[in-house]
Amino acid sequence: MTKRKLTRAVSGQAMRLGLNDWNTVCDTVERVNAVDENTGLLSQNILSTSGEITVRNSLCQTVPSFGVLIAEKALHETMLQDEQLRFALNAGIEIVGKQPSGSPDDILCIVQETAPHRKLVRGIVFGPTCVRVDVTKRTHLYAKVLPGVIDHLQSSDSGPVRLIVPAVRPGVQICYGIIGLEKGDPVFHAKELFPAVAYRREREETQQNGSVKTVVETFVVCPGGRGEESSLKTVHVLNVEGRTMSTDLFGTLPVAMNNFDAVMADNGYGQPLMVCSPGEVDEGIRYPVQRYDFEQEQWSKADTNQSLAGCPAYLKDEKIIVAGGQSAYDVSNPVKLGISGTTQFYGHHVTPFWSIDPISGALETRTPRRQITCGTTEQAECHVVNQEKRFLKQNFKGIPFSRSSNGQSVEFLAVGGTELLGYQSKAVVSYTVDSIGAYVDCENNENRILNKCELFPDTPLPLGECCAVRTST
């Protein structure tokens, strides 16, 4: 928060009050009025603008006043959080509270009084409230939920609660906050680590002479991404014919996400569906597959436990195939793969290809886990296996290929890629998956079965975090 210093005037001095100074005075008066002078807490006038529900503590522990509970289950058939909240407020229903999971889907409820086991108490789900916060840094302007913690929130650079009065000291204290003023996206944004998907539609337009003309509209749809400080929900849309950029045409992502890929698929009724593979999220332990149905004009999501950040996706046989990269190849912790006699083999389990069903959003492993043997000691040296380096790269660009030439077929090309295990890839690796589901890296096929794919030349230099496209005319 930028501190503004106002200069005191002396008697007889000519004064001219600027706009910013006047607004600073207004903000100060508003904050003073917000605090009850007897209790030092937020006044009832301010609290009347809050969204209040009744919540029953389902935990065995007592939740202190201004502590944290989470609505136990979906309140409504919709998966969207704000719609569930509106339903709860309008219906005046009793909500069961549980421990926070830390998921962005958690419906945060700040209890307004001490809540023993099974006690029904008042809770605030949006708007102004007092809230118990562990302030770790006085410059923090937000508070976030800690998984499993019901006593307090933790101060942070972002989160679901905006702190409206700066903390005076570190440690756990009661702060004034507003739920629901999570740091959102500005209307327009510079951003990185997001996909761009082309979407084309036709609409009928009545001309001045009464005739009807079919107008083609082409959009480049750019969901999510990462801004300066956090992931974004914003969906930027470039209208190619109109040469305009907008952010309100195809809604916003249900969950802010970055470093994912997106593919246009079929919604099962012959209509286009944009499927976003699970990427990086700022908070929580779930990684959603997020889909936008252009016909229904609606986003939906299906949670998974697997981040596929840095993994390119492509469409094959009406399924979304996600090729393993940064998160799918979790090679940070070698595991013991097996024992032969007295020798222990170490290496990694990796899943080269994943599959998303566009209709349900369910994520499956397309191929069996592959075991990469790195060594036979506890200090396994994976990075000396040159051919495996070609395989283990991240943030590369995947090009669906699907062509057959000279009796050889290729499904997928991996171009570029940044270092994994200290390696930068110049390789253009062609992949295919045979009829029994086994993975084949053309240059690393143990059986030397090269009739299943073809080889492509390496790039002269590493291409790094590569953008690549296939152009065919």
């Binding site: 790039t459 790094g464 953008c467 690549a468 496209v469 152009t471």
Partner: protein, 141 residues
């Protein structure tokens, strides 16, 4: 559209007839640990792979970047403008573009959008950015 034999011309007036891979907007770390940006697109002729990758066919980006988004090839029917008046002639021509959007360079995050016009072999920098602003006209390469 120019024909395949034109692809060996230098940048500025070429098209990529046939089947190509085009890699754009990348950086890598050299042996000294420094990050190097590729300002020129790399191309691979898939019908003649033995020729290898080259970066002298397409013009360089105005704003090199990484972590950007690249669209697939987008085809539109653009109105043909009268060369003298600049007014639409009523006719259209088919244009193929790929859009390079956002990303990051040494100055931070980018909102700008540049389009590689594959039909004319030029970069177009007069597209609105993610922030809705359009760069000054006449700034094309």
């Amino acid at each position: 559209m120019l024909c395949r034999q034109d692809k060996h011309l230098k940048s500025g007036n070429i098209t990529l007839g046939g089947d190509w891979l085009v890699a754009i907007g990348v950086r890598y770390r050299n042996e000294d640990g420094q990050f190097i940006m590729h300002d020129k697109p790399w191309t691979l002729d898939l019908d003649n792979k033995d020729e290898g990758w080259r970066n002298d066919l397409l013009p360089p980006l105005k704003t090199p970047r990484y972590n950007a988004a690249l669209s697939e090839v987008v085809t539109t029917d653009d109105p043909i403008l009268d060369e003298e008046t600049g007014e639409p002639t009523g006719e259209t021509e088919e244009i193929e573009r790929v859009f390079l959007i956002g990303g990051r360079n040494e100055n931070g995050l980018l909102a700008s959008v540049e389009a590689l016009n594959l039909t004319k072999g030029v970069w177009e920098t007069d597209w609105p950015g993610l922030d809705g602003t359009v760069p000054p006209q006449g700034d094309q390469q």
